[in-house]
């Protein structure tokens, strides 16, 4: 009797795989295996950092743990129990730092992944589902898709109301960005260089995921002149040639150094004091990870890119918007030092 059931199950397996593949075609979400409906998902495993942020802002009580190392300062700004959740490792095909056995032992109701969905990701997700039987959902989407992503993830995690609320907030922020950018009219966009790495000579080329927030905010990424792609090294000669008006970085040590540096001092941005250190708490405000965490950073970015545009009240209004987003996302008021400390090193 049992053998027959087993055979039936085996016969059905290809069918199940096929439906998985079929549903994978459906818009911005790829599903493998049936997700428990309604409030059925109580334990969610986040496959990577963007998914972890998504789950943390929507349903921190359901997040099993973190796919990345979290330092104490970041944890202090997060809602419990996510704030004290353990580091578990990430699930990304060959680069996974959690084994499938450990994954099964966590007994998740759902494996959630978010970010760019390509065939490599899809086949990796499908394999995890085939091997473990755990339902696996990949939410595609770049920055402008975050409202849809929040709504969809809220539905999956059984918190549709919260998902809709946060999606509305995300909508408001994105609309604000669009209106400020449009208010510029024919004014040329500010030329921005995003300095990464310990020496600041690492940056994102045009269209890179790391530059998404900056480019969405209407800034001209000077490194786009070196081509499109991901992260790249550039030379000081190029930075001087591009002569950016605004210098963005996440590294306060680097921002301090440029002011005394013979070469960096010749860049317009440094001469006019437009060097801004983007906050990284509790997650990066510009990138790292490229998830919904960047929504908090967008108003900050507008205030740095367009000082004075849109009236004198702009800075405080933008700050209010970032504060709203921060409070709704992380359940804490935004520490004043974050917004201000990000202005100058």
């Amino acid at each position: 009797m049992r053998r027959r059931a087993l055979l039936q199950l085996l016969a059905l397996a290809p069918l199940a795989a096929a439906t998985g593949r079929l549903r994978a075609q459906d818009g911005m979400a790829a599903h493998f295996g049936p997700v428990p409906p309604g409030d059925g998902v109580r334990r969610v495993f986040a496959a990577g950092p963007p998914a972890a942020v998504l789950a943390c802002v929507l349903a921190p009580e359901k997040l099993l743990g973190w796919p990345m190392q979290m330092d104490r300062a970041a944890r202090r700004l997060l809602p419990e129990p996510a704030a004290s959740a353990a580091y578990l490792g990430r699930l990304t095909g060959r680069g996974s730092t959690i084994g499938l056995e450990s994954l099964l032992a966590l007994r998740p109701d759902l494996v959630l992944d978010a970010g760019s969905v390509d065939p490599t990701h899809l086949s990796g997700a499908e394999r995890v589902w085939q091997q473990t039987g755990l339902p696996y959902v990949l939410l595609d989407g770049r920055l402008p898709d975050h409202p849809r992503q929040l709504r969809e993830a809220g539905r999956l995690l059984g918190v549709p109301r919260r998902g809709a609320d946060l999606a509305g907030l995300a909508e408001r922020i994105l609309d604000r960005v669009r209106s400020v950018v449009e208010a510029g009219g024919d004014e040329p966009p500010p030329r921005v260089y995003y300095a990464r790495g310990p020496d600041g000579l690492e940056t994102g080329l045009g269209g890179s995921i790391n530059m998404e927030a900056i480019e969405f905010a209407g800034a001209g990424n000077v490194a786009a002149r070196a081509g499109r792609g991901g992260l790249a090294r550039v030379s000081m000669e190029q930075v001087l040639d591009w002569d950016p008006q605004v210098l963005l970085t996440q590294d306060p040590d680097f921002a301090r150094r440029v002011r005394g540096h013979r070469l960096w001092r010749q860049v317009s941005a440094v001469r006019s004091g437009r060097v801004h250190v983007a906050p990284v708490m509790p997650f990066g405000w510009l990138d790292g990870p490229p998830g919904v965490n960047r929504l908090v950073g967008l108003p900050w970015l507008l205030a740095r890119l367009y000082p004075g545009r849109d009236g004198a009240l702009q800075e405080s209004r933008l700050r209010g918007l970032a504060g709203d987003c921060f409070r709704h996302f992380y359940g804490h008021g935004m520490p004043a030092a974050l917004w201000v400390g990000g202005t100058e090193a």
Binding site: R196, P198, E237, D241
Partner: protein, 337 residues
């Protein structure tokens, strides 16, 4: 017909190649400057030419010049260290990283980036890591007394190098994939774009201190290539000489690697090119390796910063250029009776 038998011609070729490379290196770059503008900027401080726009002077004097100087010095150091090692280990496949200096420096730098330390600490930990790795290999090999000491050194170097490589991989797995991992990867691939004049001056004493014994002991290093027993019979204290050479080469290489990251192939290919030019005798091989190493690294770095709109990592370019050259030299050597 062999170049090694016509020293004047051989040296002329080496010097001319270096001058040509220098000319190209000064005039090529991402900042648009005509050769004339480069020349005027170079002459500007002498007062012979009227001062011109500040951009050109900055680019030529504070970006291209330090970078070319770094290429010259680092290439010379890696070439000389490679030549010394190939002689000492009596093996043409040996390069300066055989005793783990690059892996140690890589682990030090990766650790510093992982911990979010500033640039100076990244360089410092890389230097310290390189020295520590070779010291460890040397002590380890000294503890094993039953085999050929050169063989034990190389094997210990390979094993420790693999161990350190595993440590680097572990840090890459643990590092933040969005911020730290790209920086670690770029560092491990090497590059001269971050070397400032100050860094070069700070590392120069260590590199000169390392090169000095190679130059002073060039005759005795020749004797090492005969084999330990023969060298000892000729009155060389082999153990002491080897220890001194390893210390010197490691000091210079660690200083070079801490500035520019891991740059392979220079220390392996350059001594072969030099041997082709001037023959295997070390008192001639050393200056030829210095000269060709300097030219090779400046040439590959010029490619790295001009071939594409972004910077190509130097380690990739030296491999792309170095490996075919190496194969060509191998094939040539095979043809000879």
């Amino acid at each position: 017909m062999r170049l090694a038998q016509r020293p004047v011609l051989a040296w002329s070729i080496a010097v001319a190649a270096l001058l040509l490379v220098l000319l190209l290196a000064f005039t090529a770059g991402q900042y648009p400057l005509t050769p004339g503008a480069v020349l005027r900027a170079l002459l500007a401080p002498s007062g012979l030419e009227a001062p011109m726009d500040e951009g050109a002077t900055t680019v030529v004097w504070h970006i291209r010049l330090p970078r070319i100087a770094a290429g010259l010095v680092l290439g010379a150091v890696l070439g000389a260290a490679g030549a010394a090692y190939q002689n000492m280990f009596r093996n043409p496949l040996v390069s300066p990283d055989i005793l783990g200096v690059s892996s140690g420096a890589g682990l030090g730098a990766a650790l510093a980036i992982f911990l979010g330390l500033p640039l100076l600490m990244v360089q410092g930990l890389a230097f310290a890591g390189g020295l520590a790795a070779v010291t460890f290999v040397y002590l380890l090999a000294g503890a094993v007394r039953r085999h050929d000491p050169v063989l034990v050194l190389v094997l210990a170097g390979v094993a420790v190098g693999a161990l350190l490589g595993a440590g680097i991989s572990l840090l890459k797995i643990l590092a933040d994939p969005y911020t730290q991992l790209p920086s670690i990867t770029f560092w491990l691939l090497g590059g001269l774009n971050a070397v400032a004049a100050g860094d070069l001056l700070a590392a120069l004493p260590a590199m000169l201190l390392g090169l000095l014994p190679l130059a002073l002991l060039r005759w005795r290093i020749n004797l090492l290539s005969l084999g330990d027993e023969e060298a000892a019979a000729l009155g060389v204290d082999v153990r002491r000489l080897r220890r001194l050479l390893i210390t010197a080469a490691t000091l210079a290489t660690a200083a070079a690697v801490s500035l520019a990251g891991i740059i392979g192939w220079v220390g392996l290919v350059v001594p072969h090119m030099a041997r082709l030019l001037v023959g295997p005798e070390f008192s001639r091989l050393l200056p030829a390796s210095l000269l060709l190493g300097a030219g090779f690294l400046v040439a590959t770095d010029t490619l790295a910063r001009t071939v594409a709109a972004m910077e190509l990592p130097l380690g990739i370019v030296t491999a792309i250029v170095g490996a075919p050259v190496f194969l060509f030299l191998l094939a040539r050597a095979g043809q000879r009776p």
